[in-house]
Every structure is written in structure tokens, then in C-alpha cells.
């Protein structure tokens, strides 16, 4: 398992890679990664045209279910994959951030379409130039809108990434709370 893929350096991903891993820990990590990559509960943050393509991907022909990522949860609390589908503008940005913040760890983010990735060809006063300006992103799926094959490819890349990350059973210590203020 390569440990220095700089893909994984995005800070907010909840894999406790700072902990050194024992041999047993490694096995646990791989097992957890395997389990997690096949049960992605997604929260579709659908705003725009890409949503039409997203519907097609979720339907019978392309069938996202084969990747264990079919079941949308319409509560961010129950989701661990945030699919940002469509343009995010300046007015929408705080809401996206809030949805992201209310998801429980571990969580991943996919930017679906160029608008979510970089603002696309809407380079103007209203549109945010990519969601990575406010939240970390794991996989970018380019295309306007991306073809379903591309989306499936992106999901598979995400699965590979999840498998390669380090996972840990949560210890007994309570997680550190952010400082008040």
C-alpha cells in the first residue's frame, strides 16, 4: 500500500493517517476500506443540468447500484458521499458548506461536472469557481455534463482511493471537540 500518494493529503478527510499502523491495524484498515468502498451512501446535492445526467446514471441502464452507491440519503447526517452535481453559485456556497459540515466522518466529496470542479464556462459575478474553494474534493469528474461512463469511472476511482486510505476503528477516547469561540 503506497503511503505517500499525495492525493490523500487533503486535510479534512477523516482517515486518521497520523496514527502509525501496526500489522493488525493494517488488516483492520484494509477490511474497513473494503467495506466502506462498497457501501457509499450518497447525498446528491443536485442543482443544475448535471442532475439530468445524474438521474440517467442512477437509472436502469447505467445503474449506479452495481457500485454500492445507489441509495441516496436525503439527510447529510446519514450520508458519507457528497455528490455535488451542478453549478454552485455564491449564494449557494454557504449552504453547501453547511451540508458538508453536518456530514459525519468518514466522508468523501465528488465534484460532478466542470461547474462543480472549476466553475465551468460561467466565469462571472455569480458563480463560484469550483467547490474546492470551500470544501475539499476527492474526485473531480469533468464534462459538461459528464457522460455516464465518466461518472462510473469517477466512482471507481473513488473506491480505489477509499481502499487505499487508512481506516481505523474508532478508539475509546472521545474525539477532540473544536475550541469554543
Amino acid at each position: 500500500m503506497s503511503s505517500s500518494s499525495d492525493l490523500d493529503l487533503v486535510p479534512a478527510i477523516a482517515t486518521r493517517r497520523e496514527d502509525a499502523l501496526s500489522g493488525l491495524g493494517k488488516m483492520v484498515s484494509q477490511g474497513l476500506g473494503w467495506a466502506r468502498k462498497y457501501s457509499l451512501f450518497q447525498y446528491p446535492f443536485v442543482t443544475a443540468c448535471c442532475g439530468m445526467e445524474f438521474m440517467a446514471v442512477a437509472a436502469a441502464r447505467y445503474d449506479l447500484d452495481r457500485f454500492g452507491a445507489a441509495l441516496p440519503r436525503f439527510s447529510p447526517r446519514q450520508a458519507d458521499l457528497l455528490m455535488v452535481v451542478g453549478t454552485i453559485n455564491v449564494k449557494q456556497a454557504p449552504i453547501l458548506k453547511r451540508v458538508y459540515d453536518s456530514m459525519a466522518d468518514p466522508k468523501w466529496v465528488v465534484a460532478f461536472g466542470v461547474c462543480a470542479s472549476s466553475g465551468g464556462f460561467y466565469d462571472n459575478y455569480a458563480t463560484m469557481q469550483g467547490i474546492d474553494r470551500i470544501i475539499p474534493v476527492d474526485v473531480y469528474i469533468p464534462g459538461c455534463p459528464p457522460r455516464p461512463e465518466q461518472v462510473l469511472d469517477g466512482i471507481m476511482m473513488l473506491q480505489q482511493k477509499i481502499q487505499d486510505q487508512r481506516h481505523q476503528l474508532i478508539g475509546n477516547e472521545p474525539p477532540a471537540l473544536p475550541a469554543k469561540g
Binding site: K91, P94, N124, Y125, M128, D132, I134
Partner: protein, 173 residues
Amino acid sequence: MSQAALQKLKERFPDAVTQTYVGKGGDDVALVKKEAVAEVCRFLKDDPELQFDMAPYITAADYMGSEPRFDLVYQMYSTKKNHRIRLRVGVPESDPVVASVTPIWKGANWYERYCWDLYGIRFEGHPDPRRLYMYEEFVGHPLRKDYSLRGRQPLMPERTVDEPFRGPGPTGG
């Protein structure tokens, strides 16, 4: 058909209707003074021969540098008579206030809010004069020609990215 409408309008409001012409592709257009908008619209809707009953499409254009600066456009349609007419109303920058036509057609509501939001034309007597698209914190009116294309006003802190290279072309550089 609506040649007659223009004629009628001109007879009824000799002062308020400053000019009528047939535009590109046969659209009938009347230039109307700003003070008389509500009156003219009321007439257009109620007159039994005209009956422009469907809510108009209202938009604006910014002719910066000429006087009056803004141009309000009312594109109307009558379902009863199947004819169209377009009113153009000059609005000066110094006094961008026009009487609202929302009391006449309910459907004018959001179009007027749109004109306020993006062009800064206020409508007197509008029941809900909020911005339509932009947030309340937004300063300025983005579709005015002197508002810059990329004048973003973020609502929350964003990671800064050095402006990536943009190739040549109409919007590049």
C-alpha cells in the same frame, strides 16, 4: 392587426406615446413616457379591442452613455386577440423609478423584481420589492454595463487561487 393597436394607442395617449414604429420582423413597438406607464398598461389590458390580458415579459437594457440610460421593455400578448405589442420606456439614471404594473397583472411581480435586482430600476407600488436573484448583501446591480463581469462578492471565505492562465480569445486576458 396590431398596427391598429398602435394607432389606437397613439390616438388615446397623444402625449405619452412619443413614437411608434414597426421593428425588425414586424414587431409593433411604441415608445412610452415613463410617467404614463401604468395608465397605458391599464388601457392596453382593459380596452375591449386590445385586451392584452397575459402578463407581459418585462426586461430592461442598459444603454450606458446615452440619455435616458435605461430602457424598460414590456412585451405583451393577448390571448383573446392573438396579437403582440412591445412598449419601450426610457428611464433616466438620475431618477430610476417607474410605476409598478403588478397591480394590473399579477405575473409582472418577479419581472419587476428582476429589473430592480439586476438593473437597479425601482418600481413604485410593488408589493414585495426585494431582490430576485442576488442576496441582500450584494452591492450594485450586476447587469449594468459598468459592473464588471467577474465582480464576485463572496458570502463566505474562499480559498484563493492564483488566476489561472486564460488563453487568447474574446474573454481572455
